[in-house]
């Protein structure tokens, strides 16, 4: 097997997707044969509101270079109001990460419905490109978890 010397940096993206909209949206993009990067690893959560700020930090600790949180559009939450709470929480958390000097483009919230397979693929393509430009996550990484 040949080792490619000019290997491009491949970020690891963790996507938290809500069971009712975004996960189904990801499924739809798959059945529609739309391409999105293999860098994206999806974690299914019952609701975007399930995502504890600690989950996001933990993802960075375990080697993620970018974390994206996808949920139902505001007003469409399966549990009526979960994503409204998510929105406030994540606004504050992202503000704090920015305040501590963590690069802004590593975190994002996107609303993707079950019918938006194309939007899911496009979002993931765009987000992966943005994180790729930033390079590996160094400011919020756990050295003990770094893969050599």
């Amino acid at each position: 097997m040949q080792v490619n010397e000019n290997k491009e940096f491949q970020p690891l993206i963790v996507a938290f997707c809500c069971n009712w909209c975004s996960y189904a949206g990801a499924d739809l993009s798959g059945t529609n044969r739309l391409n999105y990067p293999t860098n994206v690893k999806i974690i299914r959560v019952p609701c975007s509101c399930r995502v504890n700020p600690m989950f996001i930090l933990r993802a960075f600790q375990r080697g993620a270079d970018g974390v994206i949180l996808c949920g139902c559009h505001p007003g469409d939450c399966h549990y009526t109001s979960g994503n409204y709470f998510t929105r406030r929480r994540m606004t504050l958390l992202f503000g704090m990460l920015d305040f501590l000097g963590i690069e802004r483009d590593r975190t994002r919230v996107e609303w993707v419905s079950a019918a938006e397979g194309a939007k899911f693929a496009a979002t993931m393509n765009e987000f992966t490109e943005a994180v790729k430009k930033l390079g590996p996550n160094r400011r919020l990484e756990d050295l003990r978890c770094r893969k050599q």
Binding site: P53, L57, Q61, T91, G95, F99, L100, G101, R104, V109
Partner: protein
């Protein structure tokens, strides 16, 4: 003022209104006043103290005290009454079991600022016309009062008691403080500068957990940082990630409930400006969801327990300020 407080405490103990008093007692050093529960008039007479160095917030001790039988008398400064109200709102304090006497607030002194002037072996500190006369083992020295005022008192947000049964001294007003100035200054730095600033501050952390233990908003019986499987359980941080994680989560868990009493920074043995993290959340909440002061009353809904249909999207924080 100390005499008036001792007199009133003894009266209330004698007529049976309360059966214990929570206040401050003299510690090992003159500047080392610690919170204490007094049960007898004699104990109060001998050990009770209230001066420019009694800055501890007594509200959190009432969580444990009100679980017990009987009524307790608490002396609360204006900033402490906000914490008290917030705890009443969260049903952590039984309001019926506390007799609150509001006392005038600071300005309180920060002993570290005196020590930073190279003054050591302190035997006594006296305020005479806003000059501190400090008696030390190595002779007398003095310094201007306002150079030793603690950060939280220098940026006092309110001299108004939001809750009390009676007052000793005058009630004040909510002040227009410049407490967000340092946060703004940091926000206007570049991301790299902010990162360097926080790295130099947070890397000093020894994970003594004093900031969590003293915080009147941190009253969970079982803290997430006490969980052995959390990976950030009470221990010295082995890695910069753990430091960031602990401080982000600590501040996040009190977001919308922090009254900005400044206890976290006061107790930090490493002098990390932890209140800046809390103030950042308060500032964001004020700007994005409307001005909110935790503990101002016991009825308003906390910003993180509430939402509006037209709240801003989370990604807007990526578009403001300096990158």
């Amino acid at each position: 003022m100390q005499e008036a407080m001792i007199k009133r405490a003894k009266e209330l103990l004698a007529d049976g209104t309360v059966d214990r008093v929570i206040g401050w007692k003299k510690g090992e050093f003159v500047y080392d006043h610690t919170p204490a529960v007094f049960t007898s008039a004699q104990d109060i007479e001998e050990n009770f103290v209230c001066d420019e160095l009694t800055s501890a917030n007594l509200s959190k001790y009432l969580v444990k005290e009100t679980v017990r039988e009987g009524k307790v008398l608490a002396f609360l400064k204006p900033c402490d009454t906000y914490s008290f109200n917030q705890l009443v709102k969260e049903h952590r304090i039984d309001r019926e079991k506390v007799y609150v006497i509001g006392i005038p607030g600071g300005p309180k002194l920060d002993i570290e600022k005196i020590k930073a002037k190279g003054i050591t072996g302190i035997l006594s500190v006296k305020n005479e016309n806003y000059t501190l006369k400090i008696d030390t083992l190595y002779g007398a020295s003095e310094m201007p009062f306002y150079e030793a005022v603690s950060e939280k008192c220098a940026n006092c947000k309110s001299k108004k008691h939001v809750v009390y049964d009676e007052l000793i001294g005058e009630d004040g007003d909510v002040l227009d403080s410049g407490r967000f100035e340092t946060v703004e200054k940091l926000e206007n730095m570049t991301a790299q500068e902010r990162y360097d600033f926080w790295r130099s501050e947070l890397s000093k952390c020894i994970r003594c957990n004093a900031c969590r233990n003293v915080c009147p908003a941190c009253t969970c019986e079982k803290c997430v940082f006490d969980n052995p499987s959390s990976g950030v359980e009470n221990k010295a941080a082995a890695d910069s990630f753990e430091e960031n994680m602990f401080h982000i989560i600590r501040a996040f868990h009190v977001a919308g409930r922090c009254t900005d009493c400044g206890e976290c920074s006061r107790v930090c043995p490493q002098n990390i400006p932890l209140h800046l993290l809390n103030r950042k959340f308060i500032k964001d909440i004020n700007e994005l969801y409307g001005t909110y002061q935790a503990g101002e009353n016991t009825t308003d809904k906390a910003p993180l327990n509430d939402y509006k249909m037209d709240d801003c999207e989370a990604n807007v924080v990526h578009e403001r300020g300096v990158e």
